[in-house]
Point group: C2
Chain length 413, copies 2
Amino acid sequence: MDKAIFFDNAATTRTDPEVLESMKEWQGDNFGSPATLYAFGSQAKQAIEQARQQLADLIGADQKDIFFTSGATESNNWAIKGVAEALAEKGRHIITDQAEHHSILMPCRYLEKKGWEITYLPVDAYGLVNPSDVEQAIREDTVLVSIVHANHEIGTIQPIEEIASITREKGVYLHVNAAQSVGHIPVDVTALSCDLLSLSGHKFYGPKGVGALYIRRGVRIDPLLHGGGQEKKRRAGTHNVPGIVGLGKAAVMARKNLDAEIERLSALRDHIIEQLEKNMDDIRLNGHRTHRLPNNVNISIEGIEGESIMLSLSYPTAENARPVFISTGSACVSGTLEPSHILLALGLPAELAHGSVRFSLSRHDTREDADYALKALFEVADRLRSMSPVYKRGAKQCATGKSGEGCDCEAAS
Amino acid sequence: MDKAIFFDNAATTRTDPEVLESMKEWQGDNFGSPATLYAFGSQAKQAIEQARQQLADLIGADQKDIFFTSGATESNNWAIKGVAEALAEKGRHIITDQAEHHSILMPCRYLEKKGWEITYLPVDAYGLVNPSDVEQAIREDTVLVSIVHANHEIGTIQPIEEIASITREKGVYLHVNAAQSVGHIPVDVTALSCDLLSLSGHKFYGPKGVGALYIRRGVRIDPLLHGGGQEKKRRAGTHNVPGIVGLGKAAVMARKNLDAEIERLSALRDHIIEQLEKNMDDIRLNGHRTHRLPNNVNISIEGIEGESIMLSLSYPTAENARPVFISTGSACVSGTLEPSHILLALGLPAELAHGSVRFSLSRHDTREDADYALKALFEVADRLRSMSPVYKRGAKQCATGKSGEGCDCEAAS
């Protein structure tokens, strides 16, 4: 991994060494369970309560409203199914959108089978939900609106405040999946005015296997994991103390560096987009140009498959070349070759959706890394396009480098 | 923790240093997500598949039938609610027993509210379920029987094979919560003949926050966590790679040492029971004397509160004394002062249930530790009994040490 360039940080990030250091005590000598009453358990209890406060501070929440889970997938399932069950007598209608993560869409589809009705709102060409669509979709029997904060694939940041002002007025809960935004951009549950918010440790340099659900006081939600009295009887199971402590530490680190990192990464992102647009023809930036995560670049490259690009970059043939790890479509569904449902929701034709690649940057990445990766991408894309049966081969091979239908190579020479 | 004696290993165990060592690579340089297609993710995928095989080897399963979760609470919730939902059209009746862990009872109570019917079988004075009770309780609409393998509080091992021969004949699924038995006694899903089996890493020297559910091929069960395609689309969420690798390593270590540890710990357990019965009056061994986990001792001490004993042992007043950590009732519900539902299910009066303490031993504990803890317990119990308003004070303070109603102290002197 020393020389590799890891640009797949929306899938997972490297756990920060300081985070790992913070976990050591609780993986070693101090291994007690916080559920016990003796001193040894009390220390673990204090440690998780400190982590709860640290996480609450990062998202502007009351620490009493933070509930630790095993990750964002559990948090999303809990939010959706927990509210659906708790309010089933009020109504069985939920609103979400077509460009959500599978850990939102799949629980919704599951509820559909069980008799709930789900409205999947469209998104515009940038992936944005229109707040007035939310307003129009809300019915008497609507119990929950679930909209992502920032899209994991295209980085588009949704107008959550506007949506929240509608749900609040209508008396409908708003759940926000903030797995991609927490630790990367400001996330403040008071400013967002949401009722529930999901997050995951490993998406912002914390450990895998731990996350949280923010539940505003008074929100009615059934548990997903029933059992012991942990987490005020709302989420059972022995606390993953090292994981929770690591999540707290990751929150502290993210909060400290947030503004500087946003500035640095936004500049790096914009540099990458600029270089892509300057050096490549027939590409399309997916997602919104400004309402966008600082660490996300997603482009469709006409005429070639994202899978081929990804694999070529990750297994470079030249000696001493640095592998570059990027993703195509959603990392969660890689392994299938279906086009990304998110890109299709933007209105992209399937060919372009297939040709999408995502760079997702981290706090470890430099401009040098980015330039190396760009150069590698240009080479790979040229090579793949030259072999492509669908891409306009002649135009690409001509020395002018001009794209489009009318290659004027011969005319100019 | 250096000098403390930790006899609360049924609550949680110390993660083995070799387990922690095995996790390091995946917490550090090799942090990729197995869901990705490039080489970096493939290594993580290989690591979790190796862990899956290691765990399968420990419990005699086909590795394809192992599904990783965040722990036994999730596994138990998944088994019960997942089967209930998948088979709702066949019937809505589930059988369990009164002495189960809360992570079994609470999902059952939740289902009751949703229209399912639950039969809670009684247990005998040793905590044993009578297989013929299971047979009689099975109805046309029964879809699941869930019986623990070994009780977390009293260590009683249930006759799972006998119960399984009944459920199998009747065509009803059998789920076994094996959180306390896996890694401590032989657990073989073929021999047990169960359909589902839950386990947890941190109960046998693995990490917290990771567990598994064994699902025999063909068993119909809905997911609990919907989302990405992980775990053959049955359990979504980014894999906790370090945790899963650690669980695999814990399985390898447990398998290697199982027979020797059973012999060693059974002897230590019996030594403790013998010393307790020899040196203390008016105590009662809870649980079965032979169908019992090798690492479990549970006694009720007449006239005093388990909580007082536990706290006194954990905060010794003498200089240089070693703190001894034990539990009273279930560690999961400590913090409340309600008597343990398990001890009540055995038929113990509330006073005796309140006076129960559990020693749960680990691979680290020696006879010297046990003797130290016993001596500390005798002193604490004597002191507490001498102050007890309910214990027969006169008898206890007399020099003969004889117990019972007729103190013959004066007569003898």
